[in-house]
């Protein structure tokens, strides 16, 4: 087990290094420079800025500096937000995105699974059709439409929840629901399919032949086996839900990391894009690592021998 974790750790490091390196050189192949977008700067001024941020030297030298800083956990300072470090921006915005994402995740996971199970158990009945209809809608309605709709109903018509901003628990409700619905919908569909596959398995028949009551068969024999193929996707989903709620954050004016990420790419804020990408990469790699360990807990067949 120790050996496996060490090996995985080593592979993770290489993955992150590869991502950082590719991202570094790819960014530099983009035309233009970070200061060209700010119209008021004269060419001499731009030159001085490039000099100041160390962007004039040979690329290989810059790369080495970047790597050296990265090893110390320093992503450098932003080129666009003067005087702010990338680390500082991550520290102030990531917790907000993480809270939003985590809330949405914690809601969508149990509900999605539950809906999937209910739909599968009642296959072909009204409740199944309603849940399938809900999940098709939930997957296909764009987030910004849903967000505006919720704002209109709960904030403007009913006036029970704030329209936007992020200052109290109450403010988090609408963005969380917006983010959760799509996720619930896709999980419902997936879980329904997986449950229907498991229902025809021989061991379910064995369980039934033992005289077990229906709920016990569902609980002990179906859910655990049905959930296995779902686990790998959970890792990626945690990440996308934590980082990728850009649209939702924009609509509800949530001060999360999403806006910084998108803007940094648009304005060629090299250090910011790189920093956030590497941060995200570390996150994805870690999440997948944890998911792999959980996978083994659920499915003994792939459990790593001690």
């Amino acid at each position: 087990m120790k050996k496996y974790i060490l090996k995985r750790f080593f592979i993770s490091l290489i993955t992150i290094w590869l991502i950082a390196t590719c991202c570094f050189f790819l960014l530099r192949t983009l035309p233009g420079n970070p200061f060209a977008t700010q119209q008021l700067l004269s060419p001499e001024m731009q030159e001085r800025m490039m000099e100041y941020y160390g962007l004039n030297g040979p690329l290989s030298e810059q790369y080495l500096t970047f790597m050296k800083n990265l090893l110390h956990g320093d992503f450098g300072s932003s080129l666009k937000y003067t005087g702010q470090s990338v680390n500082g921006i991550i520290a102030s915005t990531f917790p907000v995105s993480a809270q939003l994402g985590l809330q949405a995740y914690l809601i969508s996971f149990p509900i999605g699974i539950l809906f999937g199970i209910i739909a599968a158990r009642n296959r072909g009945r009204t409740i199944d059709y309603s849940l399938v209809a809900f999940s098709v809608l939930g997957v296909s309605v764009p987030v910004f439409v849903l967000a505006s709709l919720l704002q209109y109903i709960f904030a403007i018509k009913l006036q029970i929840l704030p329209v936007a901003l992020w200052s109290s628990m109450k403010h988090t409700i609408l963005p969380t629901i917006t983010l959760a619905i799509g996720s619930i919908a896709s999980k419902t569909r997936l879980m329904r399919t997986l449950m229907l596959e498991v229902i025809t398995e021989d061991y379910v028949k064995t369980a039934k032949a033992k005289g077990l009551p229906a709920w016990k068969i569902v609980w002990n024999h179906q859910i655990r086996n049905a959930i296995i193929p779902m686990i790998p996707s959970l890792g990626m989903e945690i990440v996308s839900i934590l980082m990728g709620s850009f649209v939702v954050e924009q609509i509800y004016s949530v001060p999360g990391i999403g806006a910084y990420f998108v803007n940094s790419v648009r304005s060629l804020d090299y250090t910011m894009t790189l920093g956030l990408t590497v941060f995200l990469a570390i996150f994805v790699v870690t999440a997948n690592f944890i998911i792999d360990l959980i996978y083994g807990l659920v499915d003994p067949r792939i459990r790593v021998t001690k």
Partner: protein, 346 residues
């Protein structure tokens, strides 16, 4: 007449599909007594598994549907029970072993826990006692080091071991009837013999009645007291194992016996097969379902379904050749001449 442990009368099962009704089981009747082994033989799709799973109520309904029939267990008609009431019978009075031991155990649960589930369900014992019973059963089916095996996951065991676990699990609540659905088909021959030995041994110990579903006549010879030969959803011939093997009286049984490879046969000669394929059960034929493949078929066979004829004792055969008016036929080599029978009403 004394009451049988299990008495199935005129069981009919159909599947409702988009293409129409498939009449999988078309009126079978049989009975079973304590400590007896009944073998149900027949080719794939003849309805042998379906009829057993209907009795256990394991088939999803719909599409499956019990059209008619009585399933009298100790005088009580199981067909009238609710699903909830039936749960008390499954696993306790009837237990079942399935064909594919590789997929019949839950891969994410330790085998011991899977056994305990059933024991605790029916015997109202604590977890510790259930564990003791389970380990004892594992030992009885010849699993080495049963305490360790109790904690194993199915994937760490071989096919034979898993089938032993299945048997241990099935017998752990002391059922009166054990239904074994092709228990050895997925195993190699040496393992097959061991599994059959275990079943025979436990049958004697617990006086369990066994219904053995198989298409392997070798297995039947080793196990069965009585045999029912099924074809196209009907029992074509039924009788004691002796009668079926030494005095087979239905052309389908002759075909089955003839298709069995034997050691004496010339290696170069081709293995006998019954020509043709079984009828489509969407639209079962009017007359005898076997008529189209039967080399002895007469005009009557195509027009009217043959009734049951009793030749002697409990030996029943569903073939017009037993009728007084039918011509004398010569059965294949090695099979004694056909007896005329007495028609019985159903």
């Amino acid at each position: 007449m004394k009451e049988h442990l299990l008495d199935v009368r005129d069981l009919r099962v159909s599947f409702d599909t988009y293409a129409g009704e498939v009449q999988a089981v078309r009126g079978i009747s049989f009975h079973l007594d304590l400590g007896e082994t009944l073998a149900i033989v027949g080719e794939s799709g003849c309805g042998k598994s379906v009829s057993m799973q209907t009795m256990m109520r394991l088939l999803p309904m719909p599409p499956a549907r019990l059209k008619s029939g009585e399933i009298l267990f100790e005088g009580k008609d199981l067909a009238l029970l609710t699903d909830k009431e039936m749960e008390d019978y499954r696993g306790k009075e009837f237990a079942m072993i399935f064909q594919d031991s590789m997929t019949s155990l839950n891969p994410t649960m330790r085998v011991g826990n899977q056994m305990c589930e059933g024991i605790m369900r029916h015997q109202k014992v604590s977890k510790e006692e259930a564990k003791k019973i389970a380990i004892d059963m594992l030992a009885q089916v010849g699993i080495p080091n049963p305490e360790a095996a109790f904690r194993h996951y199915p994937h760490t065991m071989s096919g034979g071991q898993r089938q032993r676990v299945m048997i241990a699990m099935a017998l752990s609540c002391n059922p009166k009837i054990l239904i074994a659905d092709e228990p050895t088909t997925a195993l190699d021959v040496t393992m097959q013999a061991q599994i059959l030995d275990i079943m025979n041994k436990l049958k004697k110990t617990y006086d369990t009645a066994i219904i053995l579903i198989t298409h392997d006549l070798g297995v039947v010879a080793q196990m069965a007291d009585r045999i029912a030969v099924m074809y196209a959803g009907e029992i074509m011939e039924a009788g004691s194992a002796r009668e079926i093997f030494y005095q087979p009286s239905h052309p389908y049984t002759w075909g089955l016996l003839g298709a069995m490879p034997n050691m004496i046969q010339d290696v170069k000669s081709e293995l006998y097969t019954i020509p043709g394929t079984p009828p489509d059960l969407y639209a079962p034929p009017v007359g005898c379902p076997f008529a189209a493949r039967c080399e002895y078929a007469m005009e009557a066979c195509l027009k009217e379904e043959p009734p049951k004829f009793v030749t002697d004792g409990g030996h029943v055969s569903r073939c017009w050749l037993h009728d007084e008016r039918a011509p004398e036929v010569t059965p294949p080599a090695g099979i004694p001449a056909l007896k005329k029978g007495v028609k019985v009403d159903e």
